[in-house]
């Protein structure tokens, strides 16, 4: 199967600095538009507005955490098809298995290398479509 182009990404994190770093990292190649949300219901509204190809979710956020946002997406006819990548400081094998069991297409460990993040995301996107 041909891998569709990844053009439109939404990154959700409560930490403003990390949001900015992720946006810079994913924009280096000039191929992706990167939208940002600080979480909660606002993230779900942004998904409906922007219709991203991919959503990247921080796991640990106050209020609605990443897994809770994913659960809301999967119960929503408009959003349930959007692939999700989790970003977490606890990327051990049992947590990765748990997130994959929740339908995440991949997990990226925090801290991440800002110069390598785009490559990691593209690799997960490609393997999801193989």
């Amino acid at each position: 199967m041909k891998t569709p182009a990844l053009k439109n990404v939404l990154y959700v994190d409560d930490d403003a600095d990390i949001r900015e770093i992720v946006q810079m990292s994913l924009s280096l190649d000039g191929e992706m538009a990167v939208h940002l949300s600080d979480g909660g219901e606002r993230a779900l509204v942004k998904m409906r507005d922007e219709r991203p190809d991919l959503v990247m979710l921080d796991v640990m956020m106050p209020g609605m955490d990443g897994p809770s946002i994913l659960a809301r997406m999967r119960a929503d006819a408009e959003l349930k098809h959007i692939p999700v990548i989790f970003m977490t400081a606890k990327a051990n094998s049992s947590e990765v298995a748990r997130f994959r069991g929740m339908s995440a297409i991949g997990v990226i460990a925090k801290p991440f290398d800002p110069m390598a993040l785009g490559g990691q995301v593209k690799a997960l996107w490609k393997s999801h479509h193989e």
Partner: protein
Amino acid sequence: MNDTREQKMAAAKARMAELAARFIERSIGDLRKMRDDLAKLDAGDASALAEIRHLAHRMAGTGATLGFQALGEHAAGTEALIDALPGGVAPDAQARERLAANIGALESQLANDARRG
């Protein structure tokens, strides 16, 4: 004219340096808040533990991403210490002492990082 990848990377690195400086400033304030929260814990306010954990979690993730690996590891250790405490009860004196020692280590590391600029 569109920037080349090299120009974008140079701009990103420059911005990362600005964010690193801002992170150091914010962390000085966050450690003050942790000390205040520790005092609240000593006074019996168990809710202050969640605030310390939140600050440590943010310091761990952002610090290490911006290149402050040692600080990030100390902060992750503080978060892990809190996660290992029994939930729903105020930490005992021994746990509070360990928490204070962790915060002291964070302060020392932050002072080193700030000196290095």
